[in-house]
Symmetry: C2
Subunit: 195 residues, 2 copies
């Protein structure tokens, strides 16, 4: 939004964010970034040391945004189950994939500890946040006490990340929703049946 009113440096970061989401790190060239940002070579190498440096700024911002979005739902109103369900059902651009998770399939991102760090930290934060919320629900008797919060949290995040894979493979968001419904059915307290 209003990308034309941003500073050159901002336009470079925003253009990089879009391209990383669409094409990943390996598939994104400086040239494509510059074209989208409406900037020349000089600007990019003035503000950033190179492609990895610019990508790091873009990834950090995307990761921060994803965390804020998740917290918006997970920290919202409702019981723990309701908030987990709201997180799983929240509207997503499913066919575009997860702008953070998709980076884990990028060989150059995984090869760089610096580029991987924000991805790791974000998914790790998400798992811990969900684990805490699940344990809260357990204390309230909403979930079976024999379940492990960290395990359930990992299963939840994995279902979301894998849901993107299924959706993109089939070319339709349906598979994502189907998997989410399956997980929610397994998680649902008996009292919420037919929810």
């Amino acid at each position: 939004m209003y990308i034309d009113r941003m500073s050159t440096s901002e336009r470079l970061i925003e253009s990089t964010r879009e391209l990383l989401w669409e094409r990943g790190y390996v598939g994104t060239s400086p040239k494509a970034i510059l074209e989208r940002a409406g900037a020349g070579q000089g600007s990019m190498y003035h503000h950033f040391k190179g492609k990895p440096d610019l990508a790091l700024a873009a990834i950090r911002r995307t990761a921060d945004e994803m965390r804020a979005t998740a917290e918006g739902v997970l920290g919202g109103p409702g019981t723990p189950y309701e908030r987990i369900a709201a997180y799983l059902r929240r509207e997503r651009d499913v066919l575009r994939g997860c702008p953070v998770g998709r980076l884990t399939m990028d060989p150059d991102v995984i090869a760089s500890d610096e580029l991987r760090a924000p991805v790791d930290e974000t998914l790790d934060w998400l798992r811990e946040r969900l684990a805490g919320l699940f344990e809260e629900g357990q204390e309230q008797g909403q979930f079976a006490p024999h379940l492990d919060g960290e395990e359930i949290a990992a299963a939840i995040v994995a279902t979301v990340q894998g849901g993107y894979v299924l959706a993109r493979a089939s070319g339709s968001p349906a598979a994502f929703d189907t998997g989410v419904r399956g997980l929610l059915a397994l998680l649902a307290p008996p009292s919420t049946r037919g929810d």
Copy 2:
């Protein structure tokens, strides 16, 4: 194995399979394929129309192999729950990711119906296979009757695919296993507790 004893065409396909797994389609250049296969430009363009044609042969073979591996476990001995658990727990090169699923994050693969087809068909087959197996377990009273086989199957496949994402983000296979344990705990018939 014995890649040096294969025909040139075979070596090209096998080298492409390895590189697609390691670096994806966008990150794999004909040059890298040729170097790994020990072949010249001419050989590749003699046997294949170009990069997409060679990649299609490689993807098809990888997809077939993955299906055979999955069927080996899902069609094996044991109750439906045991076979699903065996599938989820089977040994994997977790940090390398899924050679089929990772292709869904490749923009050029998703943009091509031809390249996407084997990926889609394989994951679709897997979901149907798991759904049938789950329903078999339901008939035997192993799983709750209110659960939907297709939904559970999608959640299972998504957990595996997303498990790779978590593992690669953290640089350790642990997160994959944690998610799988979480899902199995949710699926487990009461009689298998402590399994």
